[in-house]
């Protein structure tokens, strides 16, 4: 086993999970604690604050009304990202498989669906991620507010998507190995797939996971706070 593989596949996952959890708990608890005197409600505000906030997190209705083109890129990008995250949970835990099998799907059926849906999702992610990058580079009002962290976050995501896609379309990788790897990590006896593309993908993804609590990507948690304040009836 190479040192690189051992670091990426054996040591980094634990570090990343700890940093992610501690970082998230820290950031969110700070936000929870700070006082807010006065009301910031923006009208029209509907009666159900929670419903409105969840709707914002799931469908971005404010953005839809504000910038239709960005909404299309952003929503498709985020929704596909969520689907892919779910797919990764399936691969790692097997829990989703059990649910699907209980619903009557065969193992082959699940594998075919995973291949098709995952493949399409990978292409969509790469395309919308690239569109978001092009938008950031070419549209004046976005370019003038874009800095290194904005490009770094987007390029990191695109790189993760690209390496993920490559495992499907290029350097073929047996998914089952991921499940074995994940289980081996829990028992502290790492069995690390010796696969360059897999290790690159894992390295970038783990960097992202560690980066999230300290970056603007935290907006997926923050949106509930900020939207609650202005949707509060």
């Amino acid at each position: 086993m190479s040192t690189f593989a051992f670091i990426v596949g054996g040591i980094l996952p634990g570090i990343a999970v700890v940093i992610f959890i501690v970082g998230m708990v820290y950031r969110l608890s700070v936000w929870l604690k700070i006082p807010q005197p006065g009301r910031m409600t923006l009208f029209p505000a509907s009666e159900g604050t929670t419903k409105a906030v969840v709707a914002e997190a799931l469908f971005f209705p404010s953005l839809f009304r504000g910038d239709r083109v960005l909404w299309t890129f952003a929503w498709v990008f985020h929704a596909t990202l969520a689907l892919v995250a779910l797919g990764h949970i399936r691969v790692i835990t097997g829990f989703v498989d059990r649910v699907l099998m209980a619903m009557g799907m065969s193992a082959e059926g699940i594998a075919t669906m995973s291949g098709t849906v995952g493949g399409i999702a990978g292409v969509i992610l790469f395309a919308t991620g690239t569109l978001l990058l092009i938008r950031r580079l070419t549209m004046q009002r976005v370019r003038e507010i874009s800095g290194l962290p904005d490009f770094f976050a987007l390029l990191l995501l695109i790189a993760i998507i690209f390496t993920g896609d490559m495992m499907r379309f290029g350097a073929h990788f047996e998914l089952e190995q991921t499940r074995i790897w994940a289980r081996s990590l829990v028992t502290f006896s790492p069995q690390i797939p010796q696969h360059g593309m897999f290790l690159t993908h894992a390295l970038l993804a783990l960097l992202l996971i560690m980066y999230i609590p300290f970056s603007k990507i935290l907006h997926f948690g923050g949106i509930f706070f900020t939207q609650s304040l202005i949707k509060r009836r």
Binding site: P35, G38, K216
Partner: protein, 450 residues
């Protein structure tokens, strides 16, 4: 303490709240949607006008002071130190935002850049760098209780004049009670609605008269101006001191209801800030505004109108503080539709409405008149033109001032006034509408002759 230290302390203090500000320092995804919905950026799409860049004036220093990445990586992650050279830019840039909160309506996270603008202005204030014209309004208001610096005597003269006007209009005595202790309603207009644009106040007096409640309301000869520019200069202490004058006066009068006039920010401070944050503890009175109050009586069929008194096309401009910030949007329309023959919507409207261009106190700043007329008010001018209206009603003295100047500047023959002004001209008293209207902004005079 050095000026730089003061700035840094004020920005570090964001870590203690308010919650919105702390979140806005850390949450922006820099998608550029705010700029596409900003009235100022619409007319001047330049980097310094971009709401994100303006907010970065503070955000960058916050990053440097309060985030690890900012401390370690500095400018690479958009963090930087405050420099004395920044003051000039701050003083200019933070007074180029109208605080209309339209950005927050469309931001996917609801980030309200006006909160950051106000923080910037608060810091400027602390250093004595508030534009002189704005500071003067705050000082005069604290000194005299109103932003016009009018004395109780001048106020009484104005009220007397309004009572005479109503007598001429209707042939009967319609009272405007002043300093009556024990009256249920304490009416708090902007001073402009007594001294400059008084038809809104005669409208209110007529509503009380028709309802047979003429003895149940009062104005105050000391507190007749809800306007409170501490909101705009970011000066919380002055804002609260000014607010306290009115709360104390309501308590002294023993009022059960504080009835706010056609002034969006005054109502917002009372209803969205002072009351929920309990600046002065629990209040012995409730807070409402004249638009809601009158609309209730119209819906209940207690008021009748002769719409032909207002035959010209009329549109309504939603003041940002009344509409977007307080949700008072249906009520002014109920009043205008009841009292005008040809009410037209302006698009977009209600919570989506574009700022008049004078928000955030800018309308008081004639030092930037061209900027307000050419840039901040550009979208509004286009919107109003598209309606074909000859009268624009705005329930806000700041909007009115901006819009009146906008019409003059662009040579538009469009009258700007209040909502209750239209009601005042059309409401039936003993079966008859006002017989004589010759205020300066009297469109009705034209319609009478024509």
């Amino acid at each position: 303490m050095s000026r730089r230290k003061k700035v840094e302390d004020a920005i570090t203090a964001i870590n203690q709240g308010p919650k919105v500000l702390k979140l806005y320092m850390e949450m922006c995804a820099r998608c550029g949607t705010c700029a596409s919905q900003c009235p100022v950026y619409y007319a001047k799409p330049e980097k310094d006008i971009n709401p994100v860049i303006r907010s970065d004036l503070i955000r960058a220093i916050y990053k440097k002071l309060s985030t690890t990445s900012g401390k370690l990586m500095g400018e690479l992650v958009g963090a930087r130190d405050f420099s004395e050279d920044d003051f000039e830019k701050w003083a200019e840039d933070f007074y180029e935002c109208t605080g209309c909160r339209r950005c927050a309506t469309y931001c996917p996270f609801g980030i309200d850049n006006s909160v950051i603008t106000r923080k910037g202005r608060a810091i400027l204030h602390e250093l004595g760098l508030t534009p002189a014209v704005m500071q003067r309004v705050v000082d005069i208001s604290l000194e005299t209780g109103n932003t016009d610096g009018a004395s109780p005597k001048a106020f009484m003269a104005a009220i007397e004049f309004l009572e005479e006007e109503m007598k001429e209009e209707h042939g009967i005595d319609i009272k405007i009670p002043v300093d009556v202790e024990g009256a249920t309603y304490f009416y708090v207009p902007p001073s402009g609605d007594v001294l400059v644009n008084p038809e809104a106040t005669t409208g209110i007096a007529k509503v009380f008269h028709v309802l047979g409640m003429a003895d149940q309301w009062t104005m105050s000869s000391k507190c007749f101006d809800g306007a409170n520019y501490g909101l705009f200069t970011g000066d919380d202490a002055s804002m609260k001191a000014d607010n306290k004058l009115y709360v104390d006066e309501a308590k002294r009068l023993g009022a059960k209801v504080m009835l706010m006039g056609e002034c969006g920010h005054a109502y917002r401070i009372m209803k969205m800030m002072m009351e929920p944050a309990k600046w002065w503890g629990d209040l012995p009175f409730e807070i409402t505004n004249c638009l809601q109050w009158t609309a209730i009586h119209i819906k209940a069929g207690r008021l009748q109108f002769d719409k032909t008194m207002n035959p010209m096309p009329v549109t309504y401009h939603d003041p940002c503080n009344f509409g977007r910030s307080c949700g008072i949007v249906d009520e002014p329309r109920i009043i205008l539709e009841a009292s005008c023959l040809d009410f037209r919507e302006m698009y977009p409207n209600r919570g989506d409405n574009w700022c008049c261009g004078g928000g955030g106190g800018l309308s008081a700043m004639d030092t930037i008149l061209d900027f307000r007329m050419e840039i901040t008010g550009k979208k509004k001018m286009e919107q109003i033109r598209a309606t074909g209206a000859k009268y624009v009603a705005a329930a806000c003295s700041n909007c009115k001032r901006q819009l009146i100047q906008l019409m003059e500047y662009h040579n538009e023959d469009i009258v700007v006034g209040g909502v209750h002004d239209m009601l005042s001209r059309a409401i039936l008293i003993n079966g008859k509408a006002a017989q004589r209207i010759d205020y300066e902004s009297g469109v009705a005079v034209e319609s009478e002759s024509g």
